[in-house]
Point group: C2
Chain length 206, copies 2
């Protein structure tokens, strides 16, 4: 996995990655579907045609942006929390990391999942499906950890936590109210059992 083919493709992968990341960040500011090839070209320093040769068409750019956003989310929120044992401790870490991920401005316009979930609500197509998958995946993580924490109704608890976090993100973006983030975390923490009900291990990735 070293020289030949990978060597040739390294260039393309680098610009691909760079463009996808820029697109993902732009998406939280102006909307994923508002991204234009020309604007992305200017933002990345590449040319329109250059981007289109690498990605094929605009839809592939949006899909790459969603994939890149997912990997950023995993890197900043999921993986750091995964060092904690499954259940309540991991949930607390997830909430901490989630607030940190917003505070660190990983995306300039707040949470990528929250923004695009609202934007692509009931649309159809591959991009909308990718966004749906992202949201489903996050809720799945919450439900599994809540279940491991011994919460009686994990689905409802996940609904509540997700609701608090999204609302916190919206308020912060809309009114510049940074304190909303802590309010959201505090309310979400109240859903997590206080006891050390961790049953799991520092186990497999989600």
């Amino acid at each position: 996995m070293t020289s030949t083919v990978d060597g040739r493709r390294e260039r393309g992968d680098r610009t691909r990655r760079h463009a996808a990341r820029t697109a993902a960040r732009l998406a939280t500011v102006q909307g994923l579907d508002s991204i234009t090839v020309g604007a992305l070209a200017e933002a990345t320093g590449a040319s329109k045609s250059g981007l289109l040769t690498v990605f094929g068409n605009r839809e592939e750019i949006l899909l790459a942006a969603v994939a890149e956003a997912r990997s950023l989310y995993v890197e900043h929120v999921i993986r750091p929390a995964w060092v904690e044992p499954s259940g309540a401790p991991r949930l607390r870490a997830l909430l901490d990391r989630w607030v940190g991920y917003l505070h660190d401005e990983v995306f300039p316009g707040g949470c990528f999942v929250a923004t695009t979930s609202a934007e692509f609500g009931h649309r159809e197509g591959r991009v909308a499906d990718a966004v749906r998958d992202l949201k489903r995946e996050w809720i799945g993580v919450l439900e599994r950890e809540l279940s491991a924490a011994g919460v009686p109704d994990p689905a409802e608890a996940a609904f509540r936590i997700d609701a608090y976090l999204v609302a916190a993100n919206t308020r912060r973006e809309l009114f510049g109210d940074d304190a909303a983030l802590d309010t959201g975390r505090r309310l979400a923490l109240a859903v997590v059992p206080a006891g050390v009900a961790g049953a799991g291990e520092t186990s497999t990735e989600p």
Copy 2:
């Protein structure tokens, strides 16, 4: 205030209203900022130039759409609930009406405020300000009624109710999960004091 001027302006007002309503409905599907003058012209049966002579420019169309959405919201959610006495009874009516307003498909893409709040999160300009005002107004209603209901921390309670409702709307739009609406209402109802703590009267409009 009868014949002359109003008579002449009735035509314009009717198309203005019709276009604004269509724009507000379209906004919940494809995003408020994705509305184009041409698409709105086709959807209303008018011509591009006709719309622009009445509204002036695109921004005015978006502003009119927000204003029209507000009036629809008042008509379907606020006013029906205002017949109940202030406090817990009115809050319960608000939650009922909110679920009904979504169920009746007043907007084809779910709650206008939720969608546009996410879309215009941290943007600037008159449209973003109008969206901000709408959200602020709704939260204000909740806080005032929660306060009247004797809730100790009305701001936090309003945060929770708003979070549940927005999350319910998002899930319904994203996954077609109609049951989410009832989950949202049930959770929101739990924030409202159960006792008949209504202090007010069938009083003034918001």
